[in-house]
Homo-oligomer: 134 residues x 2
């Protein structure tokens, strides 16, 4: 783990200075976009098979139509999702993970598994902290 600080200084800290280098920071480039409220959930939903717009809406019951459209568009823009329109009547649109999307999801999976295994500890920590500062 001694690589961490090296990583940080070389890969992160160097991007905050004067030059226009911030947009070249790998961590920020990727993390800032999948940190949205719905991105992770949609990647997870699409990880096993493609879905149509309406199906995704039902799978994530509390997402608004607006946010579903916008988040899918962002995921498509980043190259994680492929959007295919079938000119049927009425039209249907399929969303499917690209290879890049599947690759990202595999990395994301480690974090999701951690979340499942440790979220109770996190909730406990929160409760304990809130009690101390009552």
């Amino acid at each position: 783990m001694t690589v961490a600080i090296t990583r940080f200084e070389e890969k992160i800290a160097g991007y905050g200075g004067d030059g226009p280098k911030l947009e070249n920071c790998p961590v920020r480039t990727v993390i800032d976009h999948i940190g949205g409220k719905w991105s992770t959930l949609l990647l997870l939903a699409l990880s096993e098979k493609p879905y149509r717009f309406g199906e995704l809406r039902r799978l994530v019951p509390d997402i608004s139509q607006r946010m579903l459209t916008q988040t899918l568009r962002d995921l498509e823009r980043d190259g994680y999702v492929l959007r295919t329109v079938f000119p049927t009547k009425p039209p249907s649109v399929e969303y499917r993970l690209t290879d890049l999307g599947h690759s990202l999801f595999k990395a994301l999976c480690v974090l999701l598994d951690w979340a499942e295994g440790n979220y109770l500890a996190v909730k406990d920590a929160r409760r304990s902290f809130d009690e101390r500062n009552a």
Copy 2:
């Protein structure tokens, strides 16, 4: 990877309904908090050794004092960071990752490595998408 949709339906979709179950969704509980603009960066900075407030400020040059304080507080609340005040004159405050924090960081590392290895592909996808929709 056939576990994904099962995971989704059981672990995610079920939390959006009528009951007050949303706060019990493991993924949202954890991801929503580390998705902030600075959380990941600070976890990365603290992953190798503890730092004092001012040191962290210098390590992440473009963070404001307000956001540094607030993000560290959130990380402390979730149990990832331990805050220790040394009553010297002037006082000094040390921030250090807890065991839970180190555990989270290990899971996060996979994602950070992915970001380093693939952010160029993401940037290319973005540029290509923006050109198509010019």
